[in-house]
C-alpha cells in the first residue's frame, strides 16, 4: 500500500507512438508482398502460402493497435490534434494494410501461368508501391518532431513536403497499372489467369491509393489545428 496523493493521472494516453507503430506495419506488409510475388514467379507456392500467413499476422497486429488507439482516445483527453481527424486518419491508414492482406490472399486463389514480361511488370508495380510506402512512412515518422516542437511552422512544413511526393508516387503507380492492364488484356493468356491477375493489379493499386489518401488525411489533421 503506497500512501500518497498524486496528480500523475493528469497525463493521459498518447496515441502518437502507436500511430507510428501501426504505420510501420503497413510498410512491412508491402515488403512481404514483394517477396510473395517473387515466390509466385518461381512457382514456390509453399513460400507464397507462408508469406500470406505472415501478412495475416501483421494485419492482425495492426488491428490490435488500432483497437488500442480507438479504445483509449476518450473525449476527456486534450490532444494537440483534433480527435476526430486523428481517428479518421487512422481508419484510412488501416486500409493500407487491409488492402495488402486482400492481395496476399488473392494470389493464393489460383496458380497462374504468365510470360516473363508480365512478372517483370508486376515487379515494377510492386517496387513503385514500396517506394510509396517508404515515402509515406517517412511522413509519419515526423510525428515525434511535430509533437516535440508543438507543431511549429518549420516542422509542419518539413513534414508536409512528403505528402505531394506520396501523391506523385501514387500517380506513377497508376501509370504502371494502366500499362499492365493493357498487357493483361492483350497478351495471350488463359482467361481465368487474366481475370485474377487483373484483380491483383486493381487491388495493388488500392494499396497505393490508401497510402495517398492517408497522407492527405494526415495533412488535414496537422493543418486543422
Amino acid at each position: 500500500m503506497r500512501f500518497f496523493r498524486s496528480i500523475g493521472g493528469i497525463f493521459g494516453y498518447s496515441p502518437f507512438e502507436d500511430l507510428k507503430k501501426h504505420a510501420s506495419l503497413c510498410g512491412r506488409a508491402v515488403g512481404i508482398l514483394v517477396r510473395q510475388f517473387d515466390a509466385l514467379e518461381k512457382g514456390n507456392y509453399e513460400e507464397v502460402e507462408r508469406l500470406r500467413e505472415e501478412i495475416d499476422d501483421l494485419e492482425h497486429h495492426a488491428d490490435k493497435i488500432k483497437a488500442e488507439i480507438r479504445g483509449n482516445l476518450t473525449r476527456s483527453l486534450i490532444l494537440p490534434v483534433d480527435r476526430h481527424d486523428l481517428l479518421e486518419f487512422l481508419t484510412v491508414q488501416d486500409s493500407i494494410i487491409n488492402n495488402c492482406e486482400h492481395v496476399g490472399h488473392m494470389v493464393t486463389f489460383r496458380r497462374v501461368k504468365a510470360p516473363k514480361e508480365i512478372w517483370s511488370d508486376f515487379k515494377v508495380l510492386l517496387a513503385k508501391i514500396m517506394e510509396t510506402a517508404v515515402e509515406y512512412e517517412e511522413l509519419i515518422n515526423h510525428l515525434d518532431r511535430l509533437v516535440e516542437t508543438s507543431f511549429s511552422k518549420k516542422e509542419v512544413k518539413a513534414a508536409l513536403e512528403h505528402v505531394p511526393k506520396v501523391e506523385e508516387l501514387e500517380h506513377e503507380c497508376d501509370l504502371v497499372q494502366i500499362g499492365l492492364h493493357t498487357k493483361l488484356l492483350n497478351v495471350d493468356l488463359d482467361l481465368r489467369d487474366a481475370m485474377i491477375m487483373i484483380q491483383w493489379v486493381v487491388h495493388l493499386g488500392y494499396i497505393a491509393n490508401s497510402a495517398a489518401r492517408a497522407a492527405d488525411r494526415f495533412r488535414l489533421m496537422i493543418l486543422a489545428r
Binding site: 500518497f4 493521472g9 493521459g12 498518447s14 476527456s76 483527453l77 494537440p80 516542437t149
Partner: protein, 332 residues
C-alpha cells in the same frame, strides 16, 4: 491543558509532514519527470526552499487561516483552544483518510473546511451568531480556489505559446530544451518556495490560534517549515519517483511553463493571504500547456476527481470538526 497543546503540536507536525510528503512532492515531480534534476537534488532543493517559503513568507496565509474565518476575538479563549485543536485533528484525520483512498484532496481545503466547522460549532453553541462568521473572507477564499487553477492555465498557456513562437520557430528544439533544463532548476526552487509560503498555514494556522497571538511568533512558521522539509526528505522522494515515472513526456520547456505559472499564481496568493491549493493550480497549469498544444495527451478525468474531492472535502472536514469539538468541549 499542556497535554493537549503537545498533542496539537504533534498533529500539526504530522499535517506539515504530510504536506511535505505529498503536496511538495507533487509540485516537484515535474522537475524529476523531465529529468532536470536528480532525486537527491530535488530533495535538497525542496527541503531548503519549502522551509524558506514557509518561514519568510508564510505569515499572511497563516493569519487568514487562524483569524480570517472565525471571529475568534468574540469567543472565549478556552473554547478557541478547543476549536483550533478540533480543526487541526479533523484536518489531519481527513487528509489521512483521503490519502489512503488516493483522493487528490487539498490540505488547504481540508483546513478551511475544518475552521468553518469550528465556526459552525460555535454558532450552534450560541457563542457567536451565524452572520458573525466571516462569510466575505470565506467567499473570497472559495473564489480564489476557482480562480487559481484557471489563472494557472491561462498563464501557462501564454508562457508556452511565447516559448513556441519565439524559440521553437527559430532554433533547434534540442537546443531550446537544453537551455530550459537549467531554467527548470530555477523554477523548481521557485515552486518549492511558493508552495511552502502558502501551505505551511494549513499545518500551523490552528497552532497560531492556540498561542493566542497578536503578532505571529516566528517559531511557529519555523516549526511548520521543519515539518514540511521533514516530509519531503522522509517520504516525498517515493512520491516524486512514482509520479515522475508517469510524466516523462513533460520536457524541460513544458515543465518550465507549468511550474513557473503555478508558482507565480501561488506566490501571488500567498502575498494576498489567500490559502489556495498548489496542486490544483499546478494541474491547471499543466492543462494550460496541454491546451497550447504542448503535451501529447492531457487527461481531464483528473479534473473530475479533483472537483469531486473538493466538493467532498469542505463538508467532510467541517462535519468532522463539529463532532470532535462537541466531544472535546465535554472533556477539556
Amino acid at each position: 491543558m499542556e497535554f493537549f497543546f503537545i498533542t496539537a503540536l504533534i498533529v500539526s507536525f504530522y499535517v506539515a509532514w504530510n504536506i511535505g510528503a505529498n503536496d511538495a512532492a507533487n509540485s516537484m515531480a515535474t522537475s524529476y519527470g523531465s529529468g532536470a534534476l536528480t532525486i537527491r537534488q530535488i530533495i535538497i532543493i525542496a527541503a531548503i526552499l519549502e522551509f524558506c517559503g514557509a518561514f519568510f513568507f508564510g505569515a499572511r496565509v497563516t493569519k487568514t487561516i487562524a483569524k480570517g474565518i472565525v471571529p475568534v476575538e468574540l469567543i472565549d479563549p478556552h473554547l478557541v483552544f478547543v476549536g483550533a485543536l478540533a480543526a487541526l485533528f479533523s484536518a489531519g484525520i481527513w487528509i489521512t483518510v483521503a490519502t489512503f483512498y488516493k483522493l487528490p484532496v487539498s490540505t488547504t481545503h481540508s483546513i478551511v473546511g475544518a475552521m468553518l466547522g469550528f465556526g459552525l460549532a460555535a454558532v450552534s453553541a450560541k457563542h457567536i451568531a451565524l452572520e458573525q462568521i466571516k462569510w466575505e473572507v470565506l467567499t473570497k477564499i472559495v473564489l480564489s480556489w476557482i480562480i487559481s487553477p484557471i489563472s494557472g492555465a491561462i498563464l501557462a498557456f501564454v508562457v508556452f505559446k511565447i516559448i513556441k513562437f519565439t524559440l521553437f520557430e527559430r532554433y533547434e528544439t534540442q537546443e531550446v530544451e537544453r537551455v530550459f533544463k537549467y531554467l527548470q532548476v530555477a523554477t523548481a526552487c521557485y515552486m518549492a518556495f511558493s508552495h511552502g509560503s502558502n501551505d505551511v498555514a494549513n499545518a500551523v494556522g490552528p497552532i497560531a490560534l492556540i498561542t493566542g497571538y497578536k503578532e505571529l511568533p516566528s517559531w511557529i512558521l519555523f516549526f511548520g517549515g521543519i515539518g514540511i522539509a521533514t516530509g519531503v526528505a522522509t517520504w516525498g522522494y517515493r512520491v516524486i519517483e512514482t509520479i515522475g515515472k508517469n510524466i516523462t513526456e513533460l520536457t524541460f520547456t513544458r515543465g518550465f511553463s507549468a511550474e513557473f505559472s503555478a508558482a507565480t499564481i501561488v506566490l501571488l496568493a500567498s502575498y494576498l493571504g489567500m490559502p489556495i491549493s498548489t496542486t490544483h493550480t499546478l494541474v491547471g497549469s499543466v492543462i494550460g500547456v496541454g491546451l497550447a498544444g504542448g503535451i501529447a495527451s492531457v487527461n481531464l478525468k483528473m479534473v473530475q476527481r479533483i472537483l469531486f474531492s473538493w466538493v467532498l472535502t469542505v463538508p467532510a472536514a467541517a462535519a468532522l470538526t463539529i463532532s470532535i469539538y462537541t466531544v472535546m468541549v465535554i472533556f477539556v
